[in-house]
Amino acid sequence: MTQAALEIKDAETTALITGSEAIAVACKLADVDVITAYPIRPYDTVMQYVAKLVANGELDCEYIVAESEHSQFEIVKHASAAGARVFCGSSGVGWMYAFEALTVTPALRIPMVAMVGNRALDDPGAFGVEHNDALAVRDLGWQLVWVDNAQEALDTALIAYRVAEDRRVFLPCAISCDGAFLTHSQALVKIPSSEKVNAFLPRYDRGDLLLHPDNPITVAPQANEDWLMEIRRQTAAAMERSYTVIREVYRDFERIFGRSYGNPFFEEYETEDADIVLVGMGTLSIPVKVAIRQMRKEGKKVGFVRMRWFRPFAAEELAKSLGRFAAVGIIDRDFSLGAPYLSGVLATEVRAAMYPSAKRPPIPGFICGLGGREVTVPDVVKMSDIVYEAADGKAQPLTQWIGLRE
């Protein structure tokens, strides 16, 4: 980036928009070339905004309404292989319907950006948030990031394109927005000028991986045991590099847009003098922060760590941070039936991250807010009390369901 980029006149505007609309605006700013839609609540609001932008001539892209999520993701996968910047998304079982396409996308080194409007998986039907949909791809090479407000959704979408399309990475990125709590909630959002976005986000260049008659390559041939392991290792190395690239990109974001997210991987709230902390992802940050402010008035020094990037997982950094506290409570808005200690996905991963650390506080896990059930302030207080007891050496079950009807 040149110094000139910094001197561009700031034509930033402010608008009252939802998380979904914020991502649609990001698609416009990123000059996305091919977008595919298929209806499922709650993510599909983003496509309604995209459709309107296309209809009004504000977004010049091929906008295709597919006949299933599988096709939706396959279409953009191939468009990206042919050099187009693409956007896609889904929710809940829709995301699962696309699972085969989701599997091959990172393996093909396709820098797709997708929005997941997190939603409970069927059955029984529920429109509300659960994180199992996005988490289902956690082993496959998708970069996964959770955001908790509309501004962060817009900014993270721009960041996601920059990271995914970095030649050192070339892996897809899914931005998780909690269904209803973020997809449908409006907030004031600063919309950056396209000049600044252009300075931040270079054109997608697929280079020698471009599928074009001028570059007649054979993509994804049958490799079998001869080569599969080496190719898999290359994809793993790309995910390792993503960690560094994410840091670089957030620094550049701050330099160009003048706004900072601090540590890209997780946000710390009131942790400096905290005795114990809670850890969670997505919009449950809002009741947690309210509860913390309340508890601090009563002298309970509780902090909060909100995970943004789940893949790559900032294990060492997180372990270093969490090792400072007397106990750590993990709030999972997901389930992982039969997992170690019957915990959720996040608790299991945080414990794994902490294991090599010299300082390993007790880590009770909570399963909470499934199917869009509200995580209330009393729920947070209750979880904090349990974590305090764990800190005092009182044995606690490693997994408790909170807010469950008795």
């Binding site: 295709i64 599988h70 279409i75 468009a79 396409a101 994804a220 041939p221």
Partner: protein, 342 residues
């Protein structure tokens, strides 16, 4: 900004005038590992020759993926990419949409580039039907979907598909002591179904590479007419059909001359029978008996006369009773069909 319904550049591909006029260049060459006598490999070779160098090919999982693209020994001279089993329609659409967007927005040189996605009968007539159907409803994207039909999941050990003929012995439908016929379903009428169901699609055809020049010209027309198109190719398979590999060419001819496999094009909504099929329809060639075709193949070796008679009766029905023989399986209402109460 350009309009969102602008037209993609279309290549000009005149029909080849004869075998001696074919270009010598090959775009599908050595390196593949298909079986001896594989007609589908011939389809790939002729398809690539017909399309020429400015072509992108997307290949759905199946024989023509697994056997054709061993890592480090690809047989494709033109760019080629794997797509999932049920994704030929989506692969064609996505690639074409990318070219269109990038060319319109000045991010790529504006020129005609052919997009071909192929699938086998499992990937096309079974799993990929939904995506193929969707793609054929998008008149603004140029692409060809070619289904090479060897009448089974031949790559995975010869399992029956929705395109396997009645009664055929496959590993999922072996004749046994209690049941001689395990596969009772009649083969899907894929091209006819797609032609009837997608009125804005400008070109749908059947072909058989035993008639290679006609086959290649089907491909050239499909690529130069504009919009999404579909070709259904019947490909004899020595492994799946169980016959001596040197008979592949003859097996394709027999499928056509016995009337089992009609050759036709539906161009701008007009049905045109061609080749031997046309001669049969016009009474210039006597349609052969299916017995000559079936009994040359081990997959029908368990057939008794009654099975052959049933097969013959279904083929006769197609020729004698269908609204358009070989294409549209409806019949017009005749006096005898009317419900008595009316």
């Amino acid at each position: 900004m350009a309009t969102l319904t602008d037209v993609q550049p279309i290549p000009k591909l005149d029909p080849f005038k004869g075998v001696k006029k074919l270009p010598l260049e090959e775009f599908f060459t050595s390196g593949h590992r298909t079986c001896q006598g594989c007609e589908s490999a011939l389809v790939m070779k002729m398809m690539a020759k017909a399309a020429g160098p400015r072509t992108i090919v997307l290949g759905s999982t199946g024989c023509m993926y697994v056997a054709n693209t061993t890592y480090y020994s690809t047989s494709w001279v033109i760019p080629w990419m794997h797509t999932q089993l049920g994704s030929s329609g989506s692969a064609a659409l996505g690639t074409s949409a990318a070219l269109k967007a990038l060319m319109r927005k000045g991010k790529m040189k504006n020129e005609p580039i052919n997009v071909i996605a192929f699938c086998g009968d499992g990937g096309g007539a079974d799993m990929g039907l939904s995506a193929i159907s969707a793609t054929l409803t998008h008149p603004d994207y140029n692409c060809l979907i070619l289904m090479y039909d060897n009448e089974s999941y031949a790559n995975t050990d010869i399992q029956l598909s929705g395109s396997t003929p009645y009664g055929a012995h496959t590993t999922f439908s072996p004749p046994g002591k209690m049941k001689r016929i395990m596969h009772h379903r009649w083969k899907k009428n894929m091209a006819g179904m797609l032609a009837a169901g997608h009125p804005t699609c400008r070109y749908i055809a059947t072909m058989c590479m035993s008639y290679a020049l006609q086959g290649m010209n089907c491909v050239r027309k499909a690529l130069s007419i504009g919009g999404p198109t579909f070709i259904h190719s019947l490909d004899p398979c020595p492994k799946g059909w169980d016959y001596d590999p040197y008979l592949s060419h003859e097996m394709g001819e027999l499928a056509v001359t016995t009337g089992v496999w009609p050759l036709y094009e539906v161009e701008e909504g007009v049905v045109k029978l061609y080749g031997k099929t046309k001669e049969i329809a016009e009474g210039r060639y006597k349609r052969g008996q299916v017995r000559e075709y079936l009994l040359k193949q081990g997959r029908f070796a368990h057939f008794k006369d009654e099975d052959i008679d049933y097969f013959q009766s279904k083929v006769d029905e197609m020729w004698e009773k269908w609204l358009i023989p070989g294409v549209i399986p409806f019949r017009k209402e005749v006096e005898a069909d009317s419900p008595a109460a009316r």
